[in-house]
């Protein structure tokens, strides 16, 4: 069959393609030449090009995985409304009658991944809100508890803090010790960016690291030396404990063990970062952080992938900062739990920065897997 030439034929071809996608089809729009569908009677207007292409990519992944996306997921994708500012739904080139106004119609195959990811992020954020998480309840107060306050690495301290609260060991109290939790500096940078990505939002990883390098200063939450000194001025150096070993942390706060945070890949963290602005439209800030960190992070941890690594051009600067941290902490004389040389540890091989293609693929996988959970 030859390509349709009239607007009516173009529209019939488009509805035929929509029906094909609903049934799990993967043919790109530019190769779809079959027309004639009555589907137009069921809906007033064609879904946007972004939504259609996202469904096609989902179908491609589903075909590779030998699963069916299902009618419910297809409908969700086709009726999705993109959150945030940016270009609106695009018309389908060769289908919608060109009006001469608005953005010109587009071949969905030419859309950049970022536009498809905007639709996917909206749907994933809805999934996260729908799944919900239980609020953390404080356990019966233990009078013999070690009075403490956890500061430092945000990603490591968050689950520890919640666990202690559940066990009746909330932070604070008279004569509390200040526990500065730290690890190797590249890891601490990655943890800080990860924690921000699951909370209030943060620039992309490489931009964020470059920002610190340009200013010549570590971000406060990735700077244990500055944190320790700040607290030492307020409570005295003897009250400040620097913990560089996850096992030692449990001992210092007087419990047998503490949970560790989920291991989320570089691409997983970047996906979470892209969900934050959408989550801000669906949940209040306090709830948003809980949903992302305790709801989304364990789900993301189920998908393996390379961890975050500091880009090569910043490694020397980070190594220099790590030496400054170790020397400063030792010189100040705080009780240090763990080997201070941990701070100087070389980054493990195999890490990298997030990659757009992999982030998009992960979003597709999560949408596909999430269809069973809804």
């Amino acid at each position: 069959m030859s390509a349709p030439t009239t607007p009516e034929q173009g529209l019939a071809r488009a509805w035929g393609w929509v029906a094909h996608l609903r049934e799990g089809g993967t043919t790109p729009w530019r190769d779809w030449l079959v027309g004639g569908s009555d589907a137009a009677t069921a809906a007033r207007h064609l879904p946007g090009a972004q939504q259609l292409e996202l469904l096609r990519r989902l179908n491609e992944l589903a075909a590779r995985e030998r699963v069916r996306p299902g009618a419910a997921l297809a409908e969700r994708v086709l009726s999705a409304s993109m959150a945030g500012r940016g270009r609106p739904d695009r018309l389908l080139a060769g289908a919608d009658r060109p009006t001469g106004f608005g953005l010109p119609p587009v071949d969905p195959g030419d859309l950049p991944r970022g536009e498809l990811l905007r639709v996917a992020a909206t749907l994933l954020a809805e999934d996260v809100v729908a799944a919900g998480v239980e609020p953390v309840q404080q356990g019966l107060l233990r009078p013999w508890r070690v009075r403490h306050r956890l500061v430092g690495d945000l990603w490591l301290t968050a689950p520890a803090r919640e666990h202690l609260l559940r066990k009746g060991r909330p932070p604070g109290g008279r004569d509390r010790i200040i526990v500065v939790v730290a690890r190797d500096l590249p890891g601490m940078l990655a943890d800080t960016w990860t924690a921000h990505s699951f909370d209030a939002g943060v620039p992309p990883w490489e931009e964020w690291v470059a920002g610190a390098h340009r200013r010549g200063r570590l971000y406060p939450r990735a700077d244990p030396l500055r944190t320790a000194r700040w607290w030492a001025e307020r409570v005295g150096p003897a009250q400040v404990h620097v913990v560089l070993d996850a096992a030692a942390l449990a001992r210092v706060v007087g419990v047998r063990r503490l949970p560790t945070p989920p291991h989320v890949s570089a691409d997983g963290v970047d996906l979470a970062r892209r969900l934050v602005p959408v989550m801000g439209l669906l949940a209040v800030p306090e709830r948003r952080a809980e949903l992302l960190r305790r709801g989304l992070a364990p789900r993301l941890a189920a998908y393996a992938g390379p961890r975050l690594a500091v880009p090569d051009e910043h490694r020397d600067w980070v190594a220099e900062q790590a030496r400054r941290q170790r020397d400063g902490l030792l010189a100040d004389g705080y009780p240090v739990h763990g080997d201070p040389d941990v701070l100087l540890a070389e980054p493990r091989p195999g890490g990298r920065s997030p990659e757009m293609g992999a982030v998009f693929e992960l979003a597709l996988r999560m949408l596909l897997d999430g269809r069973r959970e809804r």
């Binding site: 939504q51 500012r85 609106p88 009006t99 001469g100 909330p170 604070g172 109290g173 439209l281 209040v284």
Partner: protein, 415 residues
Amino acid sequence: MSKRVLLHVGTPKTGTSYLQDVLFRNRDRLAAQGVHYPLDRFDGHFLAALDLMRLPWGGLETHAIGEWDRLVARTRELLAAPSEGDVSVIISHEIFAAASRSQTGRALAQLGLDDPETEIHLLLSVRDLVRQIPAEWQENVKHRSTLSFAAFLEQISDPERDSRIGSWFWGVQEIPDILDRWGADLPPARVHLVTVPAPGSPKDLLWERFEEAFGLRGLDIEREGERANPSLGVPETALLRRINRSANRVVPPAAYRPLVRELLAHQTLSQRTGSPRLALPLELHGQVQETSRRWVEAIKERGYDVVGDLDDLIGEPPTTYVDPDRPAPRQVNAAAIDAIKALLVENGRLLAEQERLDAELARTREELHRAYLRPTYKLREKIVRRLEGHPAGRRVMRVYRRVRGRPQPPAMPEG
């Protein structure tokens, strides 16, 4: 008996703040006459629009969660209520203009597009691009933007509309496209365009056009509104942009709104007269007029109900142009002096308020202190201290507090 939803979706800078203020102030009076403007706070429909379109807006979006569905439910409830006469529900906010096709489809379906008993009327108030372009830039500056006018013009000239500014500007200003997104499923007779009169027209003309389009004519309402979105001149807008560049990092959004946008821009700088007005650069005028002519032709062909004159959309050619990126220093200085004066007056008012509150606090403390000195208080304090000293006593106190509905002592120290 008719049941109508009057959906006013834009565009910005067309007198919408004044219209919404009159509707808000008269909402009880209007409701008694069968015309409902359902909202509890002035910006209720703005929040509903943010929610429908899932738009971030400097933190306000957290107040918007669920607002669109609530507005729809309230509208359906008002339309379904038994009534002896006609019932109309007005929904109005200019940022609805930016809604995408999927969002407009959802909104219209929820409001009763398929309900044969409900008539949905779309209203769009429109003004010529010649005035809208500088007005939109100024609106950006009043929302913390530091973008120069030249950069703004460059971004809106990008045919791909790849920037945030470009996609938003055309989203809320390209009239035929807005009507394609919102009006495609409605009969042309239920799509009403209100044109903003050309400069120099009688002051009441725009309001009369709104009255006609909304069917408010002959209703008993007070027309005086307080809220407006007044315009600034060239030096005032240039000053505001410089303030943004310097203060954005240190002034949080919650303080920016009352101090910069309200106090400085609306209450102070917009009151200055005699400054050169913002305008389109003369060399762009022909091109912009050409675009407007194309729009007017398309609108005429579609057969909408037009209140006013579509030819007003072509825009008058400006006679002078003062570049807001290179304002006269003396004029900016004069505007800055007025701004400093306004801030000093406001600070004076706040200092007086602080003194009043300090005095009130001192009086309260004194009264509290006297209450502590009473023998009965001392006796009660002694009993409580004794009870809190052992577990059984603490249990008694807990029961007592629960019975009296008083808060338990804090158990959660700092986090």
